[in-house]
């Protein structure tokens, strides 16, 4: 009991006014500390983010510059007289819109195709029972170990022997499936009880219908993540389209844009304008789909 009185005594030494003053001083101190912390974090973030984004911001800035402005010895970070002329010229000089369309067709079909084939395969691995299931699954996973460069020469020889060079299918077909997609979908499917499949079967639900009506709606986040990731990667493909497309008609954006690369130095601004045009779709899709991507692919991948 004595101890209580002691504390109470110590506490009571101070009058209410003194106490209030103490509160104010200490509260202000604590607030300042907190503000410095948040402010410091914010400042660090702003600095790092600007450094990361610098190449992109600079590209936009150059794209808006009249080419005369670029070719000075002055420091020219921002355009003094911003103009859209470069974009116009870029679109006129090379058939950029055609390339963009090609890329959309190719990346779109690859994305849809991967989702279909990967869903089917993952369904078989997760719900069906068949001979050699484990061996086949290991084989599929092993494909992730083979780097593209180990196959690209032979693939080129194969498709050229088929007379597939310079066609849409040569850009699309080799990419219609992905081991990573199969793995991702299978992980999600394995989290559903097998009874989900059995009861659907008892209700007379066929396999295809089960995938379309039950599995796909349940794995929207994985499909979303997969779609964003696949589309961006397909949009950004470089080596394969470089090898197998020759004509303008089938070129994708990444190859098409290099055509601007070869024109004379005066048209640097024009080339960068072209780059900005073709970056916009992939960045837009990324920003829109970022949340999906993280939810479906990364939070699961880490827990694994």
């Amino acid at each position: 009991m004595e101890a209580i009185h002691n504390t109470a005594g110590a506490v009571n030494l101070k009058s209410q006014a003194e106490l209030d003053a103490l509160h104010r001083v200490m509260n202000a101190k604590a607030k300042r500390k907190k503000n410095i912390r948040t402010g410091g974090l914010l400042a660090a973030n702003i600095v790092v983010a600007i450094i990361i984004l610098l190449p992109l911001l600079y590209a936009v800035s150059v794209a808006l510059m009249p080419s005369s402005e670029l070719f000075t010895m002055d420091l020219n970070v921002l355009p003094k007289q911003p103009t859209l002329e470069n974009f116009k010229n870029a679109l006129e000089n090379v058939p950029l819109l055609k390339f963009v369309l090609n890329s959309f067709v190719v990346a779109g079909i690859i994305t849809i195709g991967q989702i279909i084939t990967c869903s089917m395969a993952a369904f078989a691995f997760a719900f069906l029972d068949f001979k050699g299931k484990n061996v086949i699954f290991m084989l599929v996973m092993a494909t992730m170990m083979i780097p593209g460069e180990a196959t690209i020469i032979s693939n080129y020889l194969t498709v050229s022997s088929w007379g597939w060079l310079d066609t849409y299918q040569v850009l699309i077909v080799p990419y219609l499936t992905s081991a990573m997609g199969i793995f991702l979908f299978r992980q999600f499917y394995m989290s559903f009880p097998i009874s989900l499949y059995e009861s659907a079967k008892l209700d007379g639900c066929g396999n295809i219908k089960f995938i379309l009506k039950i599995l796909m709606p349940l794995t929207k986040s994985a499909i979303g993540a997969m779609a964003v990731y696949t589309f961006i990667n397909a949009w950004n493909m470089y080596m394969w389209p470089l090898l197998v497309t020759g004509s303008e008609a089938k070129r994708t954006v990444q190859i098409g844009i290099s055509m601007l690369n070869s024109v004379d130095a005066q048209s640097i601004t024009l080339m960068i304008a072209g780059v900005v045009i073709i970056i916009v779709p992939s960045i837009s899709i990324f920003i829109v789909g970022q949340k999906q991507l993280i939810k479906g692919m990364f939070s699961g991948a880490v827990k694994g």
Binding site: T117, T143, S154, I285, F298
Partner: protein, 289 residues
């Protein structure tokens, strides 16, 4: 209850796997073995195997200084890229770990490079590094021809690649940080650990499982860099940026030496394979929890 699946059921299962298996077989397994096969031959310009030379292509490579240069350059490149891209990704993830105003915008910024194509990025960097109009020389007051100087070209390409690859690392590390139990930080602050001590004792070790995974993915990815070399330096000046993948491309599609290119592909595959296996061995030893 477990009954043997009927023949029909089994056939159905294979049916679902067919599209994937077919594509893997035609575009991965077959060409993989064909590459090994080709590496044992001299080919004609059409890529047809003409003359069996056994390990001749490999012997040629192993006695060629150009190939050793390629290996050396690739190794330096991979180290810079992996260290750089992981450091940037980690920095972003740590900065975005605690909630504060604008966190969404910042995390988008840190992840953004993953949405950018190597070719587009290379063209932007070409201007940034341009000796007379480039912003880098103007800002630093230097007068360096970055991509035409053998001293700097490789580093430039590597930094560009590190930037490109940092976006996905940011996502991996962010997810990894999210998986660290929040209460151990609370306990650490009660235990008296400063934020810096918390970072080195809790955050970094807590990330180590994902760190290994990310490291493997990054190494494989760095070995495959191509577009940026093709656009920025074409392997030059001299052979200072002649990464293996670019060397394969040049041998096959300019010199039409498919056999030699195939042999380089096989060597690349073996290197990546060994590195990956070693990493997994180390991981098993290193991560005890």
């Amino acid at each position: 209850m477990k009954k043997k699946p009927s023949l029909l059921e089994r056939t159905r299962a294979y049916g679902f796997l067919l599209p994937c298996i077919l594509i893997f077989a035609i575009f991965l397994f077959y060409p993989f073995f064909k590459t090994i096969f080709l590496s044992l031959y001299k080919t004609n310009k059409m890529g047809q195997a003409k003359l069996f030379v056994g390990i001749g292509n490999y012997m040629d490579l192993l006695t060629s200084s150009s190939f050793y240069n390629s290996l050396k350059v690739t190794l330096i490149f991979v180290v810079i890229v992996v260290v750089g891209s992981m450091a940037i990704g980690l920095l972003g993830a740590v900065l975005c770990n605690k909630a504060f105003p604008g966190i969404r915008a910042f995390s988008t910024a840190y992840a953004l490079p993953m949405a950018i194509a190597s070719s587009s990025a290379a063209m932007i960097f070409k201007i940034i590094l341009h000796p007379s109009v480039g912003i880098l020389n103007k800002l630093t007051g230097l007068n360096i021809n970055w991509v035409s100087d053998p001293k700097y070209a490789l580093v430039c390409v590597a930094i560009l690649t590190a930037w490109l690859n940092s976006g996905i690392n940011f996502l991996y590390f962010s997810a990894g940080l999210g998986n660290i139990d929040e209460s151990i930080y609370e306990r650490a602050s009660v235990d008296g650990a400063s934020p810096i001590q918390q970072f080195f004792h809790l955050t970094l070790p807590g990330l180590s499982p994902i760190m290994f995974y990310t490291l493997v993915v990054n190494i494989i990815q760095a070995f495959q860099s191509f577009g940026q070399v093709k656009i920025l330096t074409q392997g030059g000046p001299g052979e200072s940026t002649n990464l293996i993948v670019y060397s394969i491309y040049r041998d096959a599609f300019f010199n039409y030496r498919f056999g030699s290119a195939a042999a380089q592909s096989v060597i690349l595959f073996v290197i990546v394979m060994i590195l990956t296996l070693v990493m997994f061995k180390i991981e098993k030893k290193g991560v005890k929890y």
